[in-house]
Amino acid sequence: MTAVLPRLLILAAAVMLAGCATRPPASDPAAVRAFQQINDPWEPTNRVMFKIDQGLDAALIRPVAWTYTKVVPQPARNGVTNAIANLRSPITFVNDVLQGEATRALETFWRLIINSTIGLGGLFDVGARVGVPGHTEDFGQTLAVLGAGEGPFLYLPILGPSGVRDGIGLGVDNFGLDPVSWYSYNSHNIQWIQWAYLGAELVDAKSTTMATTDELKKSSIDYYAALRSAYRQYRAKEIRNGAPPPAGSMPSFDDEDGDPFAPEKPQAPR
């Protein structure tokens, strides 16, 4: 039994090595810069994970989510979304505190108290109705606020697009801070609850994001590449807590001079 773990690690290392993207030659600096900007050295492995994820999605998660949206009326689905958000709010609270966001931490705290009681265990978002809308934070964002870079891109089956930093964050949030995990760490408690909760989380997330991701899929040729770009931009916005990017940091590209949207200059004859 003890020999299994080292063997698994060797296998994992072999898969990673086999699945490395080819770095462009140093003689093409623009291509090297683009390679670094894409920051996806495990792209071949990630694309395999993406294929597995899309397969699981088509065969299982999407049909379940689709049936759920057709069978369960919108108000009831909103209740489920609210209840899951309420159960996740301790994770948000801890990360608000770790990021030094006192006001946001207090908002999360009072929302948890009010929604769990008057909101009948989180089914109704009373906080939002009295002018305190919810927000989410996660440990990946906390690491970013503390200065950690996003790290190479990772595509996780079922969980979708991520990165090394956000993957670590996901582990800390779900195993360290999630109240449902804490509940199940006590072996006297009912164990299937955490699996039911995980299933509910997946179906809820799918049913609320399906329209947006379908749109991206339809408008893209390489859905994986489009998703990778959109995920990172969306995360950057979440890390800024929704604020517009600071002045001057709107996309400028290091392979362009000046405004990348400038009208075309007449080219010198070559």
Binding site: A128, I221, S229, Q233, D259, A262
Partner: protein, 205 residues
């Protein structure tokens, strides 16, 4: 001042504000975005016409108010300069088609949403970014849309639309860079886009 000149001045003073007001949207960033939304809602989204007519009306609006060549050059990035002019033309055409048909698919989902301009800030050397929200009927279905505008000789043009932090231009650029380097360069990208445009056109009918 003679009488005739006085008349001319007062006539100009009376008519000019009205003229300036009618044309103001062409140079005022927030009025420009509101104009686009208003025309889009009245003449495309709420118009009682077929999907195909909606697509064509939207194309006219889109071509008039967006700087499509600048966006196309941006999304192709460093590969643009090495692309022969004939291929650049082909790309421009198919890129426009894909965007028109992609937006067109969403028109049937329109359910009375409105656009509210919230603020405007300078962007780049001579541009602006307009921050707005699309507001729906429910309390949860509102989302942030930023419009990046540039001043051109004959008025403002949109160069990018950023929805909830996700820029269309950057997403296309990063996706297309991957396709160009992995799937047969610009010819590969163009033929993939052409077949996608054909599929989307069939949905429009």
């Amino acid at each position: 001042m003679n009488r005739r000149r006085f008349c001319l001045i007062s006539a100009t003073a009376l008519t000019c504000p009205a003229l300036a007001f009618a044309q103001e949207w062409k140079s005022d960033p927030s009025a420009f975005v509101s104009h686009f939304a208003q025309v889009g809602i009245v003449e495309v989204l709420e118009a009682k016409i077929s999907q195909k007519e909606k697509a064509e009306r939207f194309r006219t609006l889109f071509k008039g108010l967006f700087d499509i060549p600048a966006i196309a050059r941006f999304v192709v990035g460093r590969f643009w300069r090495t692309t022969p002019p004939a291929e650049q033309e082909k790309f421009l055409k198919v890129f426009e088609d894909v965007i028109v048909y992609t937006w067109n698919r969403r028109f049937s989902e329109y359910n009375g949403q409105t656009l509210k301009v919230e603020s405007t800030a300078p962007d780049g050397t001579d541009g602006s970014v307009v921050n707005s929200r699309i507001v729906g009927k429910g309390s949860n279905d509102s989302f942030a849309v930023q419009w990046r505008l540039r001043n051109r000789d004959d008025g403002l043009r949109v160069v990018d639309v950023i929805i909830e932090g996700v820029s269309m231009a950057i997403t296309y650029r990063q996706e297309y860079a991957t396709i160009i380097s992995q799937q047969g360069g610009m010819p590969g990208l163009i033929s993939a886009l052409e077949s996608r445009a054909r599929d989307l056109a069939k949905e429009v009918g």
